[in-house]
Amino acid sequence: MAKRIELNVDGKAHTIDADPDMPLLYALRDDLGLKNPKFGCGLAQCGACTVLIDGQPVRSCSMPVDSIGKGKITTMGGLNANGKPHKVQQAFIDEQVPQCGYCMNGWIMTTVSLLEKTPKPTDAQIEDALTGLKCRCATHASIMRAVRRAATA
């Protein structure tokens, strides 16, 4: 049955009535009308739905909406909420990374988190952080260039 749930998303407080077991993704997309996180698999296997919760990348397709508590949620669209692209977004723009682009939430949000912890990662550290994310258009070469670029921005 529906439950009243509070969410802090991109710096704004929201209250929704939702099935507590509903994955966060649907609260973001359907209830709040935020379109950035994408449904890719619903199985936490691809990353297209990735958001940050308190700075940690989380697969929102598999995270029950009632489990977030007071965690601060950041979506990809929230990174540039002040009108200026985040340096990771800018690096991905400069490198013209995406083809279809449907997977980008995963790569961008995970890279944001990586660079917070490891501002100057080696290629091996980049791979460690990004392994498991899927890009079906196979833009891996551009992704690596963009992450390296973001790390030097």
Partner: protein, 755 residues
């Protein structure tokens, strides 16, 4: 065909979209022209191809679209070149049957070679018309006028000048043009103007930026999945767990606790709708359904190739250059040695990044709108019209960026699901599949076996026969205008109309007798099959050339020749030789007449070459691999790609497109194989259908662009996908001495080969 075109009259007068959907480019169009003022779309009217805005910039109406490789940018450059405008002064509005003619959608890498060439002609004609207008206005002969940056100036009296904007900005061209009467990829129009001499090109050859990356990374426009209409319902399908089975009883009460959830059931088609997306998903999982009991349709996966080998052939064909089969056999009789090998390739899946999505707003008394990620929105709109019992002119098909598309994936099916559900509910419906549907039920690239025989005499090939036996290339057509090719339409009774066709290798190897043939076998399941086959990026190219180029390698080694030198001796066309040589030189090819088997610890390293043509584009690839001899894991470390697609329009986007094809091709080479049980496809997610991981990426992709300034562009979307698999296999042979003749090249297959 004419009715197909004339319908645009209706669409043209239908007015702007009244719903708030934010698609890239729409604002540019709306800001300049009221949609209601546009003359009806008609290939005889220049206004259907191009217009000039008040500020002198141009809009090209592209009846294809860009799937993320920058095709639209290339088209903008072609149009800009003929109009003497900077590239950023050309807007390309793509993939909307309400604004563009049907140029066939994204199809066969023809975006630039066909679609762009037609709009380039339109641009040349537009410039000609502008010069005519300027000649009158300035009272000077046309020959005295020059154009630059949208300004027309008298050469004899430079004080006399005008601009495109002044002459026609914000108004539509009234010029009639001659077109060739063909709808789709081949639609073209003639221009009275002389096309620009390539030596005068300024915009070709420049790396203009992509136009879609910013909104995709900032999240400021809508994907098809993001479209929301007032009163819209979310829909999901419930597909059988045993392929071929249909619902026989549905317990609607089983979902009565889910707010607004409703069942839609029509023969084999079963779906649920609900106002909230999560509720639709829950309902699809919770609904109690009884299914018909059917015989399991598939063989054991391990028997796939035996099945193909033994299956009856229902259609055969071959290269147009084939000779009398008796002559081929005669040539083999003259050989003193015949060598033969068989190569096998599995079903592969589009497995697009997300399951396909479509939104349909069914309006029986007005215009029904389809928003689709399909590569062919015009044709998809026609298919939706048929399945809804509407006239083609009553459906507007609009492409919106979707979760990836590499041919006929599940997007076409999503369009019909959304349409049927919208009609059934009388509400706008957004349908998106779940992951198991996107991977498990998308059309597949057909499994195949390829047998090649070479007759040798005195160490030289005197006879060559390449033969494929495979599932149908087009069990469902990649053109989506016929519901027979659609999963949902088949579920409600449309009969299958298989295309029964295949393909042959493309190269210029000059064997004295060269025969290329194929035969197609029946599908396991005629209708509603999760293994129905269709086009996946570079349809059949990777597997056919895996076999062809693998066997060329085999013959080279069998006759004591270096694989590069051997190909150079075989290639009859200079462009083929140039590409092979360019790749080998840049890669630092190590000449050899046997596998080198270089070892560093447990790692064997090798280098392999493969070459192919694709509709005139030539690509040679040298792959360098590391094979872990303990684990059997292959890492393709480096690729050197020599790429000749005629004139290069945008070097950076071309290079990035090639890089994408290399990595996607590598994924198909080392990972991708659709698994199935006797009952259904079991590759249903990323664990059961793995693709390339960032840790497996090539560390270097070195691209050599061979620019043919005086040759037309041949198309670059898929050519570099074609020889990737073969190059990897040939490198594995050099590293290990193991000849891979069955893909993908998984550790198990490598270890079996090394045992």
């Amino acid at each position: 065909m004419n009715s197909h075109i004339n319908r645009r009259h209706f669409l043209g007068s239908a007015g702007a979209l009244t719903v708030s959907v934010l698609l890239p480019g729409q604002l540019a169009q709306a800001a300049t022209f009221g949609a209601d003022k546009r003359p009806p779309l008609d290939p005889k009217k220049l206004a259907s191809y191009i217009s000039i805005r008040a500020d002198g910039s141009a809009i090209a109406y592209f009846g294809k679209m860009d799937m993320g490789q920058g095709t639209d940018v290339g088209v903008a450059q072609m149009v800009a070149e003929e109009l003497d405008l900077p590239a950023d002064k050309v807007i390309v509005l793509a993939g909307d049957s309400g604004t563009s003619l049907n140029q066939g959608g994204a199809s066969g890498s023809t975006g630039v070679s066909h679609g762009g060439a037609t709009l380039r002609n339109a641009a040349a004609e537009a410039r000609y018309v502008l010069l005519e207008l300027a000649s009158k206005q300035l009272e000077v002969p046309m020959e005295d006028l020059s154009t630059a940056n949208g300004v027309i100036t008298s050469k004899s009296n430079p004080a006399k000048k005008t601009t495109y904007g002044e002459l026609i900005g914000g108004r539509w061209f009234e010029t009639e043009v001659e077109w060739n009467g063909k709808v789709g990829n081949d639609l073209s129009m003639k221009t009275r103007a002389k096309l620009k001499d390539p030596k005068d090109y300024k915009v070709y050859g420049t790396s203009q930026p992509r136009r879609d990356v910013e909104w995709k990374l900032l999240g400021t426009s809508d994907y098809v999945t993001d479209i929301k209409l007032p009163g819209m319902l979310h829909a999901r399908t419930i597909l059988p767990t045993v392929a071929g089975s249909v619902p026989t009883a549905v317990d609607e009460a089983s979902i009565k606790d889910i707010p607004g959830a409703k069942v839609i059931w029509d023969k084999g088609l079963l779906g649920v709708v609900a106002p909230k997306e999560w509720d639709a998903i829950k309902a699809s999982r919770q609904l109690k359904v009884t299914w018909s009991v059917v015989k399991a349709p598939f063989p054991d996966q391990k028997d796939l190739y035996t099945h193909i080998r033994n299956a009856k052939s229902i259609k055969s064909g071959g290269s147009a250059k084939n000779v009398d089969p008796a002559k081929v056999e005669e040539a083999f009789k003259g050989a003193d040695k015949v060598i033969e090998a068989t190569y096998e390739w599995p079903f592969q899946s589009h497995a697009s990044m997300g399951p396909a999505c479509a939104v349909v707003d069914y309006q029986p008394n007005g215009i029904t709108t389809l928003w689709t990620g399909s590569q062919k929105p015009h044709f998809a709109g026609d298919g939706v019209a048929k399945v809804l019992g509407l006239k083609p002119e009553q459906v507007r098909g609009i492409w919106a960026a979707g979760p990836g598309s590499y041919g006929r994936n599940d997007a076409g099916d999503a369009a019909v699901f959304a349409a049927l559900f919208s009609k059934a509910t009388g509400k706008p419906v957004r349908y998106q599949g779940m992951r198991h549907e996107g991977s498990g039920w998308d059309p597949k690239s057909p499994a195949s076996i390829h047998t090649i025989r070479a007759g040798l005499k005195d160490g030289k090939v005197v006879a060559w026969h390449f033969h494929s036996k495979a599932f149908d290339r087009l069990n469902v057509s990649s053109n989506e205008s016929d519901p027979s090719d659609n999963l949902g339409a088949q579920m409600i009774g449309y009969a299958a109309k298989p295309g029964l066709t295949y393909a042959t290798p493309e190269e210029s190897y000059a064997f004295p007798v060269k025969q290329q043939t194929w035969e197609v076998i029946p599908p396991f399941l005629e209708l509603v099959s999760p293994l129905r086959s269709s086009h996946l990026r570079d349809p059949l190219g990777p597997e056919i050339h895996f076999a062809n180029e693998g066997f060329v390698d085999e013959v080279a080694y069998a006759t004591g020749q270096d694989p590069v030198a051997y190909r150079l001796s075989l290639a009859a066309e200079q462009r083929d030789k140039d590409a092979i040589k360019a790749a080998a030189d840049k890669a630092g090819w190590k000449t050899r007449t046997a596998a080198r088997k270089e070892m560093k610890g447990d790692i064997a390293t090798g280098q392999g070459i493969a070459f192919s043509q694709r509709n005139g584009t030539r690509v040679a690839i040298v792959a360098e691999v590391d094979v872990n001899m303990k684990t059997g894991k292959v890492h393709a470390r480096k690729f050197t790609v020599a790429h000749d697609c005629g004139i290069v329009i945008n070097p950076r986007l071309l290079t990035q497109g090639i890089e994408g094809n290399i990595c996607q091709g590598l994924s198909r080479a080392v990972h991708e194989e659709v698994m199935f049980s006797k009952e259904n496809v079991t590759s249903v997610d990323w664990l059961t259908y793995p693709i390339l991981d960032i840790t497996e990426r090539p560390h270097e992709i070195d691209v050599v662009l061979i620019n043919r300034q005086n040759l037309p562009p041949n198309g670059a979307g898929e050519g570099s996908m074609r020889p990737v698999v073969a190059a990897v296999a040939n490198a594995i042979y050099d590293a290990t001495g193991v000849r891979m003749r069955q893909g993908p090249f998984t550790p198990d297959r490598l270890k079996a080969g090394m045992a």
